[in-house]
Symmetry: C2
Amino acid sequence: MPADAVPPEQKAQIAHAVRQALAKHGYARLTTKKVAAESDKSEAGLYYYYDSKDEMIVAFLETSVDYLARELDEIAADGHEERLRAVCDLLLVDEDDEAARGVNIAVMELLSHAPHNETLREPLLEMERHTLDVIVDILQDGIEEGVFRDVDPEGTAAFLLSATDGYTGFALALGMEGVGDGLRDAISAYIDSLLVE
Amino acid sequence: MPADAVPPEQKAQIAHAVRQALAKHGYARLTTKKVAAESDKSEAGLYYYYDSKDEMIVAFLETSVDYLARELDEIAADGHEERLRAVCDLLLVDEDDEAARGVNIAVMELLSHAPHNETLREPLLEMERHTLDVIVDILQDGIEEGVFRDVDPEGTAAFLLSATDGYTGFALALGMEGVGDGLRDAISAYIDSLLVE
DNA sequence: TCTGACTAAGTGAGTATTCGCTCGGCTAGG
DNA sequence: CCTAGCCGAGCGAATACTCACTTAGTCAGA
C-alpha cells in the first residue's frame, strides 16, 4: 500500500508502536517483530499497511513532527522573551520523564544515522528545520521590537537548538545526573544576556 | 582472548578499521564483515583478538578517548580565554573535514544507543565526563583569576559541550549547510559574555 | 644441524539464529 | 460470495560467531 493511503488511525497506531519499540530498544536494535509486539497487530499485519520497515519509521517521524509543531504552536506565553524561554524549556527534555526521554534519545539516534539512510533524512530535516525556524522567528520579532539585542537570529537559534539537542544526545543518553539543572540555568542566563538592558 | 591482552599494535589496527567502517556505514549498519573489509585481516582474524563485535567497538572508543584527551591536553594557548576558545573550536567539527565528520557522527550514534548497550556506556561516559571536566577546569581557573565572571562552571561547561555535541548530532548529520558559521559566531559571542568587563 | 613439539596468527567454510519481507488462507461484514 | 483486514508459517538473505585447519616461526634436545 502506498504510504499516503494508510488510514490515519492505522498510521497513528503503527507510529505509536514504532515509538514504543524505539524507546525500548533503540534504532540499531529495532526490528519489525518488536514493533509488532508493541502494536495489536502481527508482523505481517504491519506490512499490510507499509511496504518496508523504513516506511513505518517515517510514519513515526511524521507523526512526531506534527506533534512537536503543534506543541510549539500551542505555547501560550506573552512576549518574545517568555516565548523563547518556553520553547527552550520544551526542547530540554525532563530527565525524569522516562517516556519522553526514550523517544528523544531515539530521535537523536535516527539523526545520527541519517547520513546513511536517505529515507529518514527528509522528515528529520523538516523537524529540525521547523524547530530552528520557530526560534529564529521569535528572535527576529524580539529584535525588531527591541526586546532582544541585535544578535544574528540564525546563529543564536542554532546555538540554542544545538544545546538542547546535545543535552539529550549526551547527558540524557548517558544518564549523567545533575547536568540538566546546571544547563537549564546556564541557558536561562544566556537568554538574559540576549535581552536589551 | 581477554580484551586487555590484545597487543597494542593490533588494538590500534582494529580500532582504526572500526573507525573507518563506522564512518562509512554508521553503527546501525555496522557488521563485522565491514570491519574486516577495512582491515587487513579476515572476519575470523578479528575474532582471534576480540571475543565479540562490541569489544571491537569498545577498542575503538578507548583509542578515541585517548586521542581526544591528548588533543585537549596539547592545546597550546595562553590564558584561560584563549584556551576555552581553542577547546570549543576543537569540539566543533569542521563540516568539510569528511573523515572527522563521519567519526563524530558515529560517536553520536553510539551515544544515543548507549541506553540500550551496557558495554558501550562506560567508555562513552568517560569520554564525555573527561571533556566536561576539561572545560570546567578552564572555567574555574579563569574565574579564580578574574578572567571570567562568576558563573557556575558545571552548568556553563555543560552548555558548551551540549552545543558542540548537538551541532554534530543535528547540523552535521543532516548536512545543514551554513549553520556552522553562525553557530561558531554565537558561541564566540557567548564566550565574550562570560568575560569580566 | 636436523627433528619434532609447540605456539602465535591467522583463514575459509561453515553453523545457528535473526532479519525483513511474502504468501496462502482465514474470517467477519456487506 | 466477495473483499478488506489480518495472521501463521516460513523463505531467502544476512548476521554474529565458531571450528578445523594451515602456515611460519621458535626452541629444546639428540
